[in-house]
């Protein structure tokens, strides 16, 4: 702390100079005189604070945050109004639930924060070893400061962001796993700067004299630029570039390296890990949106009711004898109040009286439903993957029901549809095809037959080319050799000749290639002292000095290495996508290779092209210079690097191509087919090339043989203008679409064509490019519309050659299209993160490319096939559950409040509540809360096996169908009807006649009168029973828990009422409920009328249900009936597949034409093909 204070003053002076970068003095040592002035900067200490609250600010801060939420704020206002003005209900009625909600939330958040505090403390206090004056000193982690030199041992994790200075290894490298940061368990190599790697003892490191200039912290884990200035004895400082390969991130763990020395540059909340804490923007589900619009409607109803009553009150009170009859005078102070103030208070009082129409408990229940409900997803056995030993993960429970609403599925190809388990298939050198023996004997043999095998007598030149190719593949990669038996992460390679080494790489393709080379005779042994060792066919070790690695990136789509052979020749080997290589070729057998590449791509193989060029020493110097100057740049380093790469990687000589197979995931095709049947449109967005992707699409049944493929690719747009192509396509599609509608109505839809669209990245960006100002007029903007129109009419779309950002763009485009469909993105890699974040629902596959996608997703599943159960079963269930929950909540509160509204007409608009305070308070909290919560957790309207086997059921709930306005209005009217029945039922019993009871509980027949509280209790009793039984009627899945909860809550109501009325409660200042309930029950007519009123209230809904089911059944209802039928007939099998499938096929035209009439929405053509097939049978 003192140190910090002392830095304070100079820091202020120096701050302006160091806006964009910071200077770190290693070991806090001043640079030698002559260098820049020592400007100590002020940095935060290494304390990690992930907690939101402290002990002191918890209550105010938490309350503030909770009341920022609009619903809570509304209830707070109501509560305050109750406190301030004289309102009909005591403040307890709304204060207690609010208090309950706020407390529960606060406890939950407090507990979470306590855990964070605990974790923070554990982290902040864990010891670190700091070098001070040549000695190792133990310090608490939080006391670490920027500039400290830290020693980290193997298997320790880094306490802050560090620049590697030296390691126990002579070559200045260390291995690190970033599993806890991004999930990649592979070992990554980090490098010490060459000039410091020698300082690898405590004493030596203390003598180092250097400063580091680097950018200010930024959250990107993979980006870092900096420069180290090393002051060697009296010389000018040596400047060396620092990149992300020198930066050890907090949270990562040191592996396979005994110890390292490193200097802290970002500490505490400035570490990249801490900067990545920021939570992503919250997604809200469609259900929540409809809930909010319902809320607004109800708010309007509420205000409307209050207004009507206020106005009527003053109209009614115009007669002073009504306003103030002799028996009911106002107090003097009330009389003196201004009429406007009185009217306003009356309005507020009515608001308070009716405020229960928007219940606090709905939010709590929805929240609990989502929170608890998501456990069923994590618990699901079917979504458990043995291999990964993990089940589905729920990162946010807010979107459960959205899973039942998906219309567009955007999926990544590699690792999502496919295994991302690469296998080397073949390589092709100058048109000669080489197939490794190991696979020849395997399953690929049949496919490989007929291909010319390794040429038995190659001429010298091709022989040389061949060997160069093999060496190129062996050298041009970033594969590491892992020489131990146990690997912490997933095994990236298969056993090598020596049983104890593996190939490890972040890219499985590379492993496959190096493996493949090994089978063809060239074994990559290791990287030692910057020399790559290769065991060639003659069992000789060849050594190449590795000079530069031009890393792979997804924009260039290629990587290169520059090596020097034993003979002193400089080679640049490059491998990459064909599109990235071919334009840079100057010689080689391009045509043969291209033909082979295309052939392989059609087979669905991943192809890479390999090329090389020889460099002279001078050329190499130039390259070095170019690279170094780019690497040393502090500003725009990436841009400069890519420019440099571009200049270096050209004028290649083509060597050949490789082909690697990535097999489809288990049941991928089945899943896609199911999604199609469920009415979803599946888009594949991939960075792969068109041919490969198309092949995968065929294999995964995204495209069928009958699908007419529309292409919107650069190839086509080269021939025609984009404009023409788009119009052509839209013409084809739309024309056919139009005729299709006619066919459906005439019942002849035999001639059906289903379309698949292929678009590539370049064309896509042309399509999405905003219209040039003035020039093209409206046409540019129209491209987007036309494109969307085409897409909407295609059953499948394949977007290939996509950059990560383009994937998100596509998702955004569809999201923003005029129907606002619900989108789902599924992917496994870092390149899918943008799309996962963009889509309504983001699903991450816990794949081999690390856990980044899973980390950023809303849900993570082990395999693509689990998407089926996730959407068709869980999504469907959650949707119907939450839909019922929302509708029911509004319904039961209409039933609750509307009688109070009606009562105002009979009590002189005096805001007299109909029910007792206890009933008002507990209605939503306890009498009617549990049954609906339980319903919304375990309701299953259809057996889950049926849902899975019959994806078309998903269409029944598409487009938020259960929360549409007509249904909402139906529920509201049902509520109003029930309320009218309750109120006027009781009204006629009280008004017309002597509604009386045996006052002495059946001992004498004395007739006593009932008062207003009995009236309210009667209405309330009918209300509680009706509302609970209504839910019972809606329940299709009666487990013992349902029985327990439904009958239990009714019993609870009765017991509570008996108790509440049974005692003179000493703490209450009124005893209005004393014996009211008992007296009511002792009256015969009360029993009769309760039964009658319940029957009458439930009758219309039952009739509506039965009639709709009999006359206009939905697919779901048909299946329910037949499922019930079949369980009846065959108890062991609840579901007879064949019969039911027939059912749903039949029902589809009915269903579709119905929806078609309602909204002129695009046909999903799939149902028709299904139907056709059915007819063909």
């Amino acid at each position: 702390m003192r140190a910090r204070m002392s830095h304070l003053i100079p820091a202020c002076a120096g701050e302006e100079n160091w806006v964009d970068s910071r200077t770190v003095y290693i070991g806090h040592k001043e640079p030698p005189p002559g260098a820049e002035a020592y400007i100590p900067q002020r940095f935060p200490d290494n304390r990690i604070v992930s907690s939101k609250y402290t002990f002191w600010n918890f209550i105010p801060k938490n309350l503030f945050e909770q009341f920022r939420r609009i619903a809570n704020f509304y209830f707070l206002i109501i509560f305050l109004v109750q406190l301030i003005i004289d309102t009909p209900t005591s403040p307890i009625t709304s204060g207690l639930p609010l208090f309950f909600v706020i407390t529960v939330t606060a406890i939950k958040q407090g507990y979470e924060d306590w855990l964070r505090h605990k974790a923070d403390n554990a982290i902040n206090q864990c010891p670190v070893h700091v070098i001070q004056h040549g000695n190792v000193v133990r310090k608490q982690s939080r006391k670490l400061r920027v500039g400290d030199i830290v020693r980290v041992k193997e298997d320790e994790s880094f306490p802050c962001d560090l620049i590697l200075l030296s390691t126990s290894r002579d070559d200045g490298t260390c291995f690190v796993t970033t599993a806890s940061l991004d999930g990649e368990s592979s070992h990554k190599t980090y490098y010490a700067v060459q000039d410091t790697k020698a300082f690898n003892t405590e004493e030596a490191i203390d003598t180092i004299h250097a400063t580091i200039e680097c950018e200010q912290p930024q959250p990107d884990l993979y980006k870092f630029v900096g420069r180290i200035n090393i002051y060697l004895a009296r010389d000018e400082p040596v400047a060396r570039p620092l990149g992300s390969e020198n930066l050890l991130l907090r949270g990562a763990t040191l592996k396979n390296t005994e110890y390292i020395y490193a200097v802290a540059i970002y500490t505490g909340m400035e570490t990249k890990m801490a900067l990545n804490y920021q939570s992503k923007s919250q997604k809200r589900s469609a259900v929540e949106k409809s809930m909010n619009s319902y809320l607004i409607v109800y708010l309007c109803i509420l205000i409307g009711k209050a207004l009507i009553n206020t106005i009527l009150k003053y109209v009614w009170q115009a007669n002073p004898n009504r306003d103030e009859p002799w028996y009911n005078q106002r107090t003097e102070s009330e009389r003196q109040r201004h009429i406007l103030i009185r009217a306003f208070t009356d309005f507020l009082a009515f608001m308070v009286l009716f405020n229960y129409i928007i219940p606090v408990s709905m939010y709590v229940t929805v929240e609990m439903q989502k929170f608890l409900g998501s456990y069923f997803i994590t618990w699901d056995d079917d979504m458990f993957d043995e291999e990964l030993d993990t089940g589905a993960l729920v990162n946010t429970s807010d979107l459960n029901e959205e899973l039942g609403q998906v219309e567009y599925v955007f999926t990544d190809k590699t690792g999502t549809l496919t295994e991302n388990n690469m296998e080397f298939i073949e390589c092709c050198v100058d048109g000669h095809v080489y197939v490794p023996h190991a696979i020849c004997n395997g399953q690929v043999m049949a496919a490989a037959a007929g291909i010319d095998m390794i040429d038995s007598s190659p001429d010298a030149e091709s022989r040389e080319h061949e060997e160069l190719f093999f060496r190129a593949v062996c050298l041009c990669h970033t594969v590491q050799v892992k020489e131990e038996e146990t690997v912490d992460g997933i095994k990236r390679g298969i056993h090598q000749g020596k049983a104890t080494s593996f190939y490890i790489s972040s890219s499985p393709d590379e492993v496959a290639l190096v493996e493949g080379m090994k089978r063809l005779g060239f074994t990559y042994l290791r990287l030692k002292d910057s020399h790559m060792e290769i065991l060639n066919r003659e069992d000789e070790i060849e050594r190449f000095e590795l000079l530069e690695v031009l890393n792979f990136d997804s924009v260039r789509r290629r990587m290169s290495v520059i090596v020097r052979s034993n003979t002193g020749e400089y080679y640049l080997f490059c491998k990459g996508a064909d599109s990235a290589i071919f334009p840079r070729i100057v010689s080689g057998k391009v045509d043969q290779v291209r033909a082979r590449v295309e052939h392989n791509a059609v087979e669905g193989l991943r192809t890479l092209c390999v090329a090389y060029k020889k460099l002279s020493h001078i050329e190499y110097e130039e390259v070095c210079h170019l690279l170094n100057s780019a690497k040393l740049a502090l500003q725009d380093r990436d841009k400069k690097l890519s420019e440099a790469y571009d200049t270096i990687e050209r004028d290649f000589i083509l060597l050949g191509a490789t082909a690697v197979e990535d097999r489809l995931q288990d049941k991928a095709a089945d899943t896609i087919e199911s999604l199609h049947k469920a009415g979803m449109k599946v888009w594949v967005l991939t960075g792969d090339k068109m041919e490969t992707a198309t092949a995968t699409c065929y294999a995964s049944k995204l495209f069928r043989r009958s699908t007419q493929i529309l292409e919107l690719t650069t190839k086509r747009t080269e021939e025609q203008s984009l404009h023409d192509v788009l119009h052509d396509l839209s013409h084809t599609v739309l024309h056919h679409h139009g005729s299709m509608i006619r066919d459906t109505f005439s019942g002849l839809s035999n001639e059906f064509q289903d379309y698949g669209l292929i678009i590539d990245g370049a064309t896509l960006s042309a399509v999405l490019k905003p219209a040039p100002e003035g020039g093209g007029g409206a046409s540019g903007g129209n491209y987007k519309e036309i494109f969307l129109e085409i897409c909407r009419n295609c059953s499948a779309v394949l977007c290939c050659r996509m950059a990560p950002l383009q994937k998100a763009q596509i998702v955004k485009l569809i999201k923003a299209s005029k129907e606002h469909p619900i989108t789902l993105a599924v992917g496994d890699g870092a390149n899918d993160v943008s799309m996962i974040l963009e889509a309504h629902v983001g699903i991450g596959i816990m794949g081999k490319e690390g856990r980044q996608a899973a980390r950023n997703s809303d849900y993570a599943i082990p395999k693509f096939k689990h998407l089926k159960k996730m959407l068709l079963v869980h999504g469907h269930y959650y949707y119907i559950r939450i839909a019922e929950l929302v509708q029911y909540f509004f319904y039961k509160n209409v039933c609750f409040i509307f009688p109070q509204f009606l009562y105002q007409f009979f009590c002189g608009f005096s805001q007299q509540p109909l029910y007792d305070t206890a009933y008002l308070t507990l209605y939503n909290i306890s009498f009617t809360s549990l049954p609906i919560l339980l319903y919304s957790l375990i309701e299953q309207h259809i057996n889950m096996d049926i849902l899975k086997k019959d994806p078309s059921l998903y269409r029944d709930i598409a487009k938020n169908s259960l929360l549409r306005w007509p249904i909402f209005i139906y529920w509201t009217f049902l509520g109003v009807f029930d309320a009218v029945v309750f109120f006027f039922g009781a009204f006629f019993l009280f008004d017309n006649t002597t509604f009386t009871s045996n006052g002495q509980l059946m001992t004498t027949n004395t007739q006593m009168m009932f008062g207003n509280w009995t009236f309210g209790t009667l209405v309330f009793t009918v209300l509680v029973f009706t509302v609970t039984l209504k839910l019972a009627l809606d329940t299709h899945y009666w487990t013992w828990i349902n029985h327990f909860v439904i009958w239990g809550s009714l019993l609870f109501y009765v017991i509570f009422s008996l108790l509440w009325g049974g005692i003179i409660w000493p703490f209450l200042n009124y005893q209005r409920m004393y014996y009211v309930f008992m007296q009511m029950l002792s009256s015969g007519p009360a029993w009769l009328s309760i039964i009658l009123l319940i029957m009458v209230s439930l009758l219309p809904d039952v009739v509506k249900k039965v009639l709709c089911r009999a006359l206009w059944p939905t697919t779901t209802e048909r299946i329910q009936v037949s499922a019930a039928g079949s369980t009846l007939h065959s108890p062991q099998g609840p579901y007879r597949g064949k019969r039911i499938i027939c059912f749903c096929f039949f029902s589809q035209p009915v269903l579709l034409s119905k929806t078609e009439k309602r909204a002129n929405r695009a046909f999903s053509p799939d149902s028709f093909s299904v139907q056709n097939r059915e007819k063909g049978k």
């Binding site: 056995d381 946010t396 009386t996 009124y1070 048909r1118």
Partner: protein
């Protein structure tokens, strides 16, 4: 909405006990338990409301409700009820004079008599009610204008009544019983005379106890000082409600068990009515051993007209009624039962037709074309 914006997943995994369904706890868990509950496969009864299942229910309901309704209707019709409006609005009414020159603070009682004839005998116990209309006993200001602890005999509340009683809380001294309800206690006196054909008449004995809820009389309402017979001492330091003529401890000086707060007329009045038109039990005429309680013939209703209702267009009635097992005269319940029963029966028939015509179709629908 309750979920915190903080997401446990975003941690670097160093605290694994975080709550949340997707918390790291879930990562650690190996294979999930294969229990029926967790796999959502609890054994369950899966009822579906179809025409077939609902049909019998409708018929059964119809068959049960209609007889009940008929029974109720007949019972209700057998109940004899007689009602006289003695407000005295009409000039012909004997109470017209009383009603006109009367205000609540008038000191001279006004008497009037209304003769009436019962055509049929009233058997068994007869209940005598007074009925008021357009009297908003359920007005909020009125309903809450009472102090239940005072009425329960609480000493503190007796001398310091609740604020709710305003403006009937104090009148110099604290008012007991306080509040608008007590203040406006119905204070007409009704007497019933049977006129023998020979011109003589006898007063019919009216029982004024047993008209309030037992629990009200014995638990909820209590005089201050418990069973102390000296009520006037117990109420010392309080004053009578403004409208009352006599203090609360003189409501029924003849019967100490019916005096003060536990006066049954008072208790009955204090149970506020649900609707502006209401009746309250006034007296019970217990049945005689051999003759009908009220034989047919001529009667006179003697009214001590104290209670003003004209100012708010109210009406006062006297009702005589017998009762049955289901209470007083109540045609509504019987009619409602008959109606609902018939509707159910009718719906049953409709559903039968639908079931017959459509039910078979939907069962065979699996073979299109």
């Amino acid at each position: 909405m309750m979920a915190s914006s903080y997401n446990a997943k975003e941690e670097d995994g160093h605290h694994s006990g975080a709550v949340g369904p997707g918390g790291p706890g879930a990562i650690k868990s190996k294979k999930p338990d294969n229990t029926a509950f967790k796999q959502q496969r609890l054994p369950a009864w899966q009822p579906i409301l179809t025409a077939g299942t609902v049909l019998p229910a409708f018929f059964v309901i119809g068959l049960i409700f209609i007889p009940i309704g008929i029974g109720l209707f007949v019972t209700s019709n057998n109940i004899k009820e007689f009602e006289i409006d003695y407000t005295g609005v009409e000039e012909s009414s004997p109470c017209h004079i009383c009603s006109q020159n009367y205000a609540w603070n008038n000191t001279n009682p006004c008497q009037c008599s209304i003769p009436f004839t019962l055509e049929q005998p009233f058997e068994s116990n007869v209940f005598m009610y007074y009925g008021l209309s357009n009297f908003y006993q359920n007005h909020r200001r009125y309903v809450k204008s009472r102090d239940d602890s005072q009425l329960n005999g609480d000493k503190n509340s007796l001398t310091n009544p609740s604020k709710e009683c305003e403006p009937y809380r104090t009148n110099g001294l604290p008012i007991a019983p306080c509040g608008a309800i007590a203040n406006s206690l119905f204070n007409d006196t009704l007497e019933l005379l049977y006129n023998f054909p020979n011109g003589t008449s006898i007063s019919i004995p009216l029982s004024k106890t047993g008209i309030a809820w037992w629990t009200d009389k014995h638990v909820k309402f209590r005089n201050p000082g418990g069973n102390n017979n000296n009520l006037s001492a117990a109420f010392a330091g309080t004053t009578k409600p403004v409208n009352w003529r006599k203090p609360v401890y003189e409501l029924d000086p003849s019967d100490p068990n019916n005096n003060g707060f536990i006066n049954e007329d008072f208790i009955v009045w204090m149970r506020t009515a649900a609707l502006p038109t209401f009746r309250k039990l006034y007296r019970i005429i217990h049945k005689n051993k051999d003759m009908p309680t009220l034989p047919p013939g001529n009667y006179t209703l003697n009214i001590t007209y104290n209670y003003p209702v004209l100012s708010f267009d109210g009406r006062k009635r006297m009702i005589l009624s017998t009762i049955s097992w289901m209470g007083g005269k109540n045609p509504f319940l019987g009619i409602a039962y008959i109606t609902v029963g018939s509707v159910c029966f009718f719906l049953g028939v409709v559903l039968l037709i639908i079931h017959h015509n459509y039910g078979s179709r939907s069962n065979n629908a699996d073979i299109p074309n």
